[in-house]
């Protein structure tokens, strides 16, 4: 394992020191408990949007803190959800008096820790509402199980929800917009290589030089099945088909297409994959009206990619287009 780190136990806090130094104009970073808030938090009278989860998915979530997106982010240790006290502290720092929405990725750890934090915040008189994103079609959905994971859809969810809060929606309305995004977004990912969690020092799984893991999550977990390496045309088609079929997306739909890198895949390959996906969607009569290509929700240095598709209507499009100013996503300001 070769990583640009010092003590594996300090990776997250040392990275936060750098993040704070690089984005002084944008954010304030609190240490112990660790959280990142907008430099101008709390924004009085605005619903605050707070998310968080294990680290190792950068730029998610800290890179999305700023005007028009998240008010605060709570980074846990690498791939481990943060604890309730950290989430509570971030919630308090972000609350501008109009309530706080928690955006939670559907992992037992995240759900339980945010749930506890919400109870604690409630006891402090903060109005908290929560949504759980579960967009990964690689996982079978069932009421008897933990359900689907939250993956790529988290990025447009945070953007659009943040925009709704920025335009002045109240907590119920912001929550409703978030639910609408969750209902309209689907994703699936593939790994070409594993990743190595710093404190473990071992690859999360072992793949031979001609194997790939289909249906992976974002924590280096093994995927749903292992298949031989495929050419990009086939690979992208195999990722896209279950995404399209699940909602299902239909002829005439407009959509945001996000092609996301898992951290170690060159942008060249991501654009190549985007071109293939856009071509396939066009053939199915689905209009790619908005697009995002790059590393937005990653698994450390893993090579691989995910495809996310979000059905857009006029309102969601407007909210996507609304100005945003964060470390990792910025336009219109």
């Amino acid at each position: 394992m070769k990583k640009i780190i010092n003590d594996p136990g300090n990776v997250v806090s040392e990275a936060l020191i750098g993040f704070a130094a690089a984005h002084r104009d944008l954010v304030r970073v609190n240490f112990g408990p660790d959280y990142i808030v907008r430099a101008d938090a709390p924004v009085s009278g605005k619903v605050a949007v707070v998310s968080g989860g294990g680290s190792g998915h950068e730029p998610l979530h800290g890179g999305f803190v700023g005007a028009g997106m998240l008010d605060a982010a709570v980074p846990g240790p690498v791939f481990t959800s943060p604890t309730p006290d950290a989430v509570l502290a971030a919630t308090q720092a972000a609350d501008g008096g109009s309530g706080v929405l928690h955006i939670v990725k559907n992992y037992t750890g995240d759900v339980l820790n945010f749930e506890t934090a919400a109870e604690l915040a409630d006891a402090e008189g903060i109005n908290v509402s929560a949504v759980v994103i579960n967009d990964d079609v690689a996982v079978e959905d069932s009421t008897y199980t933990a359900g689907r994971r939250g993956v790529g859809g988290t990025v447009p969810l945070e953007k659009i929800t943040g925009a709704a809060a920025a335009r002045g929606d109240d907590l119920a309305a912001v929550t409703a917009i978030a639910q609408r995004v969750i209902g309209s977004v689907r994703s699936m990912g593939v790994a070409l290589t594993p990743c190595i969690v710093p404190h473990s020092g071992e690859p999360s799984f072992v793949l031979s030089d001609d194997e790939i893991e289909m249906g992976i999550g974002i924590h280096g977990e093994p995927g749903r099945h292992r298949i031989p390496m495929e050419p990009a045309d086939t690979l992208v088609a195999d990722l896209l088909a279950p995404v399209v079929e699940d909602l299902p997306f239909e002829r005439g739909d407009r959509a945001l297409l996000m092609v996301n890198g898992m951290g170690g895949t060159p942008l060249l390959e991501l654009y190549l994959a985007f071109g293939i996906a856009a071509g396939l969607l066009e053939k199915q009569g689905i209009e790619v009206s908005r697009s995002l290509v790059g590393n937005y929700i990653t698994s450390l240095e893993m090579q691989g990619m995910s495809v996310t598709l979000l059905r857009l209507d006029d309102e969601l499009t407007q909210l996507w287009d609304a100005p945003v100013h964060t470390a990792a996503l910025r336009w219109g300001m």
Binding site: F79, D136, H199, S204, P222, R224
Partner: protein
């Protein structure tokens, strides 16, 4: 410590748990790499190290106060799924034992049952889901059956049952927690959380014997 356990002996038992977790954390993480995200040992070890640091700070606590301290510390240092689950388990156990200065075998059994109740309330898992619950349910049953014996014997029974239960989680397809995302591929591996439960109960039982 054949009759009941007082604060210092509960504290000693918790230290023994921390030592056992420290010893097993690489194995727990290895198990979690197979069907999870490879952090369970690290999570638990971080939590129990923090617990020990806090125990050092205040030596004069009652058993209930110690269990509550463990609960709050795990909750605020472990993270992941296991943090809130074990945190809630210890919190319910603490509530059950109240501010008694000594715990007898009955109190220990009741605390175990309360811990299970807490895990299920929080995590909604049922037996067979391949979770902590699969180790705790037989442990509580065994403790129940050993009722009337010493604290050491009750914990011994619980630990043995939990230990046996670990193997029964191997063939299971996970329905809760991170391993559930693997579907059928989660079968064939022991559950990390069930394993850590067995480690904890074993350490408690050994401490009670001593």
């Amino acid at each position: 410590m054949t009759g009941g356990c007082d604060g210092p002996s509960v504290a000693a038992a918790i230290r023994a748990v921390a030592a056992a977790i420290a010893e097993q954390h690489v194995e727990l993480t290895r198990l979690d790499r197979e069907i999870g995200d490879g952090d369970h040992g690290e999570n638990m070890n971080r939590g129990f190290k923090a617990v020990v640091a806090k125990l050092d700070a205040d030596p004069g606590m009652t058993p209930g106060a110690i269990l509550k301290l463990v609960a709050m510390t795990l909750m605020s240092t472990v993270g992941g799924a296991s943090g809130p689950l074990y945190g809630t388990a210890f919190l319910r156990a603490a509530t059950t034992v109240g501010d008694a200065g000594q715990l007898d075998a009955g109190a220990v059994g009741a605390a175990l049952a309360a811990a299970l109740g807490g895990v299920q309330a929080r995590g909604k898992a049922v037996p067979g889901d391949k979770t902590i619950v699969d180790a705790l349910v037989p442990a509580v049953e065994a403790a129940e059956s050993a009722r009337g014996n010493s604290v050491a014997e009750v914990l011994q029974a619980a630990a043995a049952a939990a230990q046996d239960a670990v193997a029964t989680t191997i063939p299971l397809v996970a329905r809760k927690g991170r391993a559930s995302y693997l579907g059928e591929r989660s079968a064939g591996h022991a559950d990390p959380g069930a394993t850590s439960t067995a480690v904890i109960l074993r350490a408690l039982a050994e401490a009670a014997k001593a």
